[in-house]
């Protein structure tokens, strides 16, 4: 072939070599001197043997040979490499190809591509690194502060090292009390806003609060729910100052989970943003997923509102994404985010706008578009509903990491519409955020549309949450006792401790309402500890009254995941001199299935100590029964819903009988819950159910009544 032909065809700056085998090549085409710098052995003859001048090329030849052996079409690329030759530095890429039955190596001169890539990546990586460092500072300060602040009674007792760390930190630190009233500002927090603490007529906190109101309307809910946030805020003080600040805000709780402080940290990231602005693409896009970022999203919302278009905002959150980072590491976490974003994108149309607006949060703006044909009779709302359902459904199948591990990343979605739900950018985001929050709370309904009912419900819940917090702190809840009967002897052998809450003299809130709230807010930890202590105290009272029965208490899923649960039970029992054999723990099936390893460890330790275990609500959910064989379990409690229809519903009767048969096989004792009639009792007795509790025998009652009842 003739090289002028290649040139005429405008073929790029490359060398083409035909492979003859055993490191022998024929030069088919080369345009420039660089090739002979790279492989001097080729100088002067069209055929040559590859020497050891380029270690990289020699190495790539191994890949190439491997490829030629396995394939007879296509090509593989080496990726860019850099070679220092006697005369110059080269940036090259090699390709191994198979064409027309022959094997070729093409070496491309990548000078230009290298420069371009270098330029972009240089900026991107410098950003990544600065960001990392700032992030680490935020995190360090917050972690240390939360730890120290949650223990210390007052800020004055902060120990010296942390105090000095704050004083000298290059990032601003503001500590407030639980009502957001300032307590401490470090020097950097003043200097970030160019303020002199002696003469300023405002404070860093006042400025931050203003910025929040304008730029991050979700702040109110965040405060109400004591959640954390991090993101960028823009501070503009005309004509002189404008800065981008990276801000983090975290609540600090005391051990009883009462809110003690807020910690706000601020770092000036103007330089980073400036670097970004030299590259517009980076400025408006998220570097990880390539999707539009929060800023871009915000602009789009504002534009749509100005244009008075109708649209929907979908706020999408990945459930428990934090676990992925903890379990698999950040690189994997990052690649999972990319995977999620791709999956979402696939389901959208060109006119839909998808952005990444938080670490694990995405938002979608959906408008009616002439390009999209809707099914006859359906409208945009139907489309939005469908998309949400499809996204949720998609998210139920696992993603896979590079190492082929499964990651479950289910999505939760909150949806609001403009102008029906709100009329400003801030308000529409607040509405979508509220809907998302509801979607997170109600595990059965992971998709929620904003409505005024939702708003009312959310406010009511918040009130309830703070009431509960107070009730726990002031020990206003009560433990009631319900006797459990041995069916063959008719004697009381055990009692179940049940929580009751009477906010006022003549109102009561059921555990089915407040326990889920306690679970979701983490209040279950202090509450659970209180119950354990109370139950042990009750056992000592029993002893004084010569009541010789066991006492069972309920343990919730989140408690089981608390590493210190066993320790606490053990030490409390020992401290109060309670015989562990008198204690029984009731767990639901779900805990054992979802959290098998932790549950197994816990149950084994409890068994060793002498505590017995009952499975609560048995028969209502899980079909995976294999755990029954492998865990040290003593009792199954058949759920009341199965007992209540036992006389009329054949299915229920069949299930109950199956449970009883299985329990016999596995040598487990069965307790029937919710027995209300003599017929139910007789049926259970007849089929050798060991024990029962329910209104037929006695309702749950306070301690004094119980003691009287026992006598």
């Amino acid at each position: 072939m003739n090289s002028s032909l290649f040139q005429a065809l405008g073929i790029i700056d490359c060398a083409i070599l035909r492979y003859m085998g055993r490191k022998h090549f024929e030069v088919i085409f080369t345009k420039d001197e660089w090739f002979f710098d790279l492989l001097p052995e080729a100088t002067g003859n069209s055929k040559f043997e590859l020497a050891e001048n380029s270690a990289f090329l020699n190495d790539f030849l191994l890949d190439a040979e491997d490829f030629w052996q396995k394939h007879n079409t296509g090509q593989i690329h080496s990726g860019i490499w850099t070679e220092n030759t006697a005369n110059r530095q080269l940036h090259l890429e090699a390709i191994a190809a198979y064409a027309g039955g022959e094997r070729f190596i093409v070496i491309n001169n990548m000078q230009h591509e290298y420069k371009e890539q270098q330029k972009t990546l240089q900026v991107a990586r410098e950003l990544l690194i600065s960001n990392d460092k700032i992030q680490a500072q935020h995190q360090y300060l917050n972690d240390r502060l939360s730890k120290v602040l949650s223990q210390n009674a007052s800020l004055l007792e902060l120990n010296l090292p942390i105090q000095q760390a704050i004083e000298h930190a290059s990032i601003g630190v503001i500590i407030t009390d639980q009502k957001f009233k300032p307590i401490t500002f470090n020097p950097a927090s003043w200097s970030i806003f160019e303020l002199d603490p002696q003469s300023a007529d405002t404070t860093p906190l006042a400025i931050v609060t203003d910025m929040f109101d304008d730029q991050f309307p979700e702040i109110e809910r965040l405060k109400a729910h004591r959640s954390s946030w991090s993101g960028d805020l823009y501070w503009h003080y005309p004509p002189r100052y404008h800065k981008w600040l990276q801000c983090e805000i975290h609540p600090v709780m005391d051990e009883g989970l009462g809110l003690k402080h807020w910690v706000i940290t601020l770092a000036d990231v103007t330089r980073i943003k400036y670097l970004l602005q030299t590259n517009e693409d980076l400025a408006l896009h998220d570097s990880l997923t390539g999707l539009p970022n929060r800023q871009y999203f915000w602009q789009t919302l504002e534009q749509s509102i100005r244009a008075e278009e109708h649209f929907f905002v979908m706020y999408v959150d990945i459930d428990k994404f934090k676990n992925i980072n903890e379990l698999h590491g950040h690189l994997t976490g990052d690649s999972m985010l990319i995977s999620v974003s791709k999956r979402i994108k696939k389901r959208l149309q060109r006119s839909d706008f998808l952005a990444r607006i938080g670490a694990d949060e995405f938002a979608i703006v959906i408008k009616p578009s002439p390009d999209i044909e809707l099914e006859p009779g359906s409208d945009i709302l139907d489309r939005v509903t469908d998309i949400a359902a499809v996204l949720r459904e998609d998210s139920r199948s696992p993603h896979f990491t590079e190492r082929d591990e499964r990651c479950n990343l289910p999505l939760r979605i909150g949806i609001a519409s403009y102008p029906a739900d709100a009329s400003t950018t801030e308000a529409i985001m607040k509405a979508a955020d509220l809907a998302l929050h509801a979607a997170k709370l109600f595990s059965q309904d992971p998709i929620q549309f904003y409505s005024s009912d939702l708003k009312t419900a959310s406010e009511a819940r918040l009130r309830l949450e703070s009431q509960l917090r107070e009730a726990i702190a002031k020990e206003q809840l009560q433990v009631y006792l319900q006797p459990i009967y041995d069916l063959s002897s008719g004697r009381i052998v055990k009692a179940e401790a049940l929580l009751r809450w009477f906010p006022t003299k003549d109102s009561s809130i059921g555990p089915d309402v407040f326990i889920p709230i306690a679970e979701q807010t983490g209040l279950i930890y202090p509450l659970g500890k209180w119950v354990i202590t109370k139950v042990c105290e009750l056992l000592t009272v029993f002893k004084q009254h010569n009541i010789n029965i066991k006492l069972a208490m309920n343990v919730s899923p989140r408690q089981v995941s608390d590493r210190h649960l066993f320790e606490f039970i053990k030490s409390t029992a020992e401290r109060l001199g309670v015989d562990a054999h008198k204690l029984e723990l009731e767990l639901t099936e779900g805990v054992l299935v979802d959290n098998y390893n932790k549950a197994q460890k816990l149950l084994n330790s409890l068994r060793e100590m002498g505590v017995t275990i009952a499975i609560d609500d048995f028969g209502t959910g899980y079909s995976s029964l294999s755990y029954l064989k492998h865990l040290p379990i003593d009792h199954l409690k058949i759920d009341r819903s199965l007992i209540s229809d036992i006389d009329t519903n054949e299915d229920d009767r069949a299930i109950v009988l199956a449970i009883l048969a299985m329990a016999t096989q596995l040598r487990l004792k069965v307790i029937a819950e919710g027995v209300e009639t003599m017929e139910q009792q007789e049926f259970l007795k007849q089929h050798r159910c060991a024990s029962a509790q329910g209104f037929y025998y006695a309702k749950p009652m306070p301690l004094e009544s119980f003691i009287a009842f026992m006598k």
């Binding site: 190495d59 890539q117 990544l128 690194i129 570097s287 990880l288 950040h330």
Partner: protein, 163 residues
């Protein structure tokens, strides 16, 4: 003379290129120029009277812009994982990189904690470093700037690569 291929892995900007440069040329630059792709340097190292020619593969930092490419590990006799002691994230990423590399090769690995001429990140806790170091065959605290332990780390990898 025996030739041995060794690779230098790590997150972006931890000082991989600088360490090689210090070792091969005895120089250091404060300016950061991120590596694109691969560059191979050669240098002879003597271990117990054996001269070994090290082929040192400087790889692009592994981050969200450049994934981990196991192909480059083929035929390597040992590898470094470099971490930057001013950036604790690089420790976490370094460990992830080690684990990914371990899926492809069982050759010796050395942990390098670089930039020790600078103040360590105040939150870098010694226990967690030691615990992680135990997953490697050896560990060095280095500075590409002052040259501290640079000679040593390469002598050690030559020794390990000889098996």
């Amino acid at each position: 003379m025996i030739q041995k291929k060794v690779c230098i892995l790590g997150a972006t900007g931890v000082g991989k290129t600088s360490l090689i440069r210090q070792f091969v040329e005895g120089s250091f630059s404060e300016k950061y120029l991120t590596t694109i792709g691969v560059k191979i340097d050669k240098k002879q190292v003597d271990v117990d009277q054996t001269s070994t020619q090290l082929l040192i593969w400087d790889l692009e930092g592994i981050d969200r812009y450049c994934g981990f490419n196991p192909r480059y590990l083929r035929g390597t006799s040992a590898f470094f994982v470099v971490m930057d002691q001013t950036r604790s994230q690089s420790l976490i990423e370094g460990m992830e990189i080690l684990h990914m590399a371990r899926d492809h090769t069982a050759v010796p690995a050395i942990m390098i904690i670089n930039k020790c001429d600078l103040d360590s990140a105040w939150h870098w806790d010694a226990d967690s470093v030691n615990q992680r170091a135990s997953e490697f065959d050896n560990c060095f605290y280095t500075s590409a700037k002052t040259g501290e332990n640079v000679e040593q780390m390469f002598t050690e990898i030559a020794r390990l690569s000889l098996g």
